[in-house]
């Protein structure tokens, strides 16, 4: 049986220079191709869900449409608004793109392979805290959007930038907390080690029952997985959370004033960020480059050599499909409900879940079985008691109109009296007087009231 060679952290940093450059170029090409195909994929899938044919003119299945759009966009006039802050306006899209590509560099695409005689991992590099690096990149990508919105010097882009900064900060908190659960379980913050930790399930014994816990963290840590996915959609500004570029409210949000190549760069950064987030979800929760469970049982070599590239690409495409699916299905959220979801739902659930997870970890490792059972029983009793005795929220009586009027701050606009009868306007009165009575057919005597 061929066993996949998991890279350890010592395996990184020994590549010759040409291999490093080749890997970086490969990552760049991967991001570029995924952008081109991603746009096509999204338009085709959304069209299919909307019962339309979708792209079908340029190339087979319209595959070349994105390329054509990109080439056409590149030859458009590059408009610089007169009120713009020139330097920042110029650099904002590049910040967004660079951050997107940098995040891709620590994604593990496969195990150790041999390239021209050099044993190397299919990953540009890895550091002990590489997940934080991805996270820092997605945190810095917001600068591209905020600064692009601000530097345009007009109102809609500014509002788009404002929204995106608030949104990204809020959702980054939930996202970071769901990663904490992964760190706690995997015992490492490096992407390659997290993939290695999901290799196989851990045996657990639960009240005498011996079970094997699932290896993938998507199942083992399902609350974290779900919250991470929701936060990833919020973090990449995708529908239903695409408030920064809500076309019905803000024209195109932060990229309203952008044109030509700079606009293309913004589009590319969105898709590269999507690919990066999908790759991150795959790495952290879906077993990374490893083949899904049934495949490895009858094909032992599925995890070795270059095959993992296929698995990870398939998983990334599935995650991209989820992104597109959400966009095609869900209406855009209102801003306040969106913020409430982030701060009042995802964050508390995540905190409680991490607390529970930490408790489970301590119980499993540091406590002997009798006291463990005692503690578990105590916890269950406490939870039941809390559920029983939880004070039900008493609704405060709704304030009457008079109270509302009295509680207004000083300097408000004057209010009309509560019992004001608004007389109809002269025009309305005239219109009523001139109108034929409605019962003209029913009452031939012509009695008017």
């Amino acid at each position: 049986m061929i066993v996949a060679q998991d890279p350890t952290l010592q395996d990184f940093g020994h590549d010759p220079w040409w291999l490093i450059i080749a890997k970086i170029v490969a990552i760049f090409v991967f991001g570029l191709v995924m952008t081109l195909l991603g746009v096509w994929f999204e338009r085709r899938v959304v069209a299919r869900m909307a019962v339309r044919p979708g792209l079908n003119q340029a190339g087979p299945f319209g595959l070349l449409q994105t390329l054509a759009d990109g080439l056409k966009g590149a030859f458009k006039e590059d408009i610089m608004p007169r009120t713009a802050d020139k330097v920042v306006f110029f650099f904002a899209p590049t910040i967004a793109v660079i951050c997107g590509f940098t995040a891709l560099s620590v994604i593990p695409f496969g195990p150790m392979v041999s390239i021209f005689g050099h044993k190397t991992a299919l990953q540009v590099t890895d550091v002990p805290v590489s997940v934080l690096l991805v996270f820092a990149c997605s945190g810095m990508a917001v600068y591209g959007i905020v600064l692009g919105g601000w530097a345009s010097g007009s109102t809609y882009p500014l509002l788009g930038g404002l929204r995106s900064s608030a949104q990204m900060i809020s959702y980054e908190v939930s996202m970071g907390l769901s990663i904490v659960a992964v760190f706690m379980t995997a015992g490492s913050a490096s992407t390659s080690q997290i993939v290695a930790a999901q290799r196989s399930g851990q045996p657990i014994s639960f009240f005498g029952l011996d079970l094997t816990a699932p290896g993938w963290y998507a199942i083992l840590l399902i609350p974290s997985f779900l919250i991470f996915c929701i936060a990833a959609v919020g973090e990449t500004n995708r529908a239903p959370f695409d408030l920064p570029e809500a076309e019905s409210e803000l024209v195109a949000g932060y990229m309203t004033e952008y044109s030509s190549l700079k606009f293309l760069l913004f589009m590319m950064s969105e898709y590269v960020a999507m690919v990066g987030m999908s790759a991150m979800v795959t790495t952290l929760f879906l077993g990374g480059w490893r083949a899904p469970a049934p495949i490895t049982t009858f094909w032992a070599g599925a995890n070795s050599g270059w095959w993992p590239l296929l698995w990870i690409t398939a998983k990334i495409v599935i995650m991209l499909f989820v992104f597109v699916w959400l966009r095609a299905t869900l209406p855009r959220m209102r801003y306040d409900t969106f913020m409430r979801l982030g701060w009042r739902v995802l964050l508390p659930i995540n905190l409680v879940w991490i607390l529970v997870l930490a408790a489970i970890k301590v119980l499993r490792e540091d406590v002997d079985s009798t006291s463990r059972n005692l503690i578990l029983a105590g916890a269950i009793v406490a939870a039941l008691l809390a559920a029983l005795l939880w004070p039900s929220k008493k609704k405060p009586p709704a304030p009457t109109l008079e109270e509302l009027a009295k509680s207004r701050p000083a300097g408000s606009f004057p209010l009309p009296p509560m019992d004001l009868q608004v007389p109809p306007s002269p025009r309305a009165r005239r219109a009523v007087a001139e109108r034929e009575p409605a019962n003209v057919g029913a009452a031939p005597e012509g009695e008017q009231e």
């Binding site: 002990p128 805290v129 934080l132 600068y143 905020v146 913050a189």
Partner: protein, 167 residues
């Protein structure tokens, strides 16, 4: 001079220079951008000292969140493009406090260490950092947490006049 020394000196110069630009520029948003450069340079210093975790957390928290919030606040209020000439900055007291603190600390450190060679301890991994914080420094850590929590609650109370007022 080793490569690490050169990097430290260069990054230090970048940090100090961009820090000066933060307080002297008249462009409000660009001041925030210079602050990003300054904090990024400090993160680079940590990286040179092989404290990877601290460096990335610095980028994550300060560059990725704190300055974004600062910019958010600026844009929520005025978001001026171009120079703002109506900024009033008490320059001399700030110079006195900032320069005094910087020079004083520098003098103190120079006097304390002179030319003693300090061997770099093992790399600042997450494990070692966690052990240090939660074994030796747990009390200051907790006190800081409580302080931050108090500041948070205080900010909410101050910004919401409808809390705690009586009719």
């Amino acid at each position: 001079m080793t490569a690490a020394d050169v990097l430290l000196l260069g990054l230090g110069a970048v940090a100090v220079g961009s820090g000066l630009l933060v307080v002297t520029t008249r462009h409000l948003v660009r001041a925030g951008l210079y602050l990003v450069v300054c904090l990024g340079a400090v993160a680079g210093l940590y990286l040179v000292l092989t404290a990877e975790l601290v460096a990335w957390v610095q980028v994550l928290i300060y560059v990725g969140a704190v300055v974004v919030l600062l910019l958010f606040a600026v844009m929520l209020t005025r978001a001026p493009i171009g120079a703002s000439d109506d900024l009033d900055r008490p320059g001399w007291p700030a110079l006195l406090v900032g320069g005094g603190a910087g020079l004083g600390l520098a003098a103190l450190l120079v006097d304390a260490f002179r030319w003693t060679k300090v061997d770099l301890p093992e790399a600042g991994t997450a494990e070692r950092l966690g052990t240090e914080i939660f074994r030796s420094w747990v009390l200051p850590f907790e006190v800081l947490s409580v302080l931050l929590l108090a500041a948070l609650v205080g900010a909410i109370v101050v910004s919401r006049p409808d809390i705690g007022t009586r009719e």
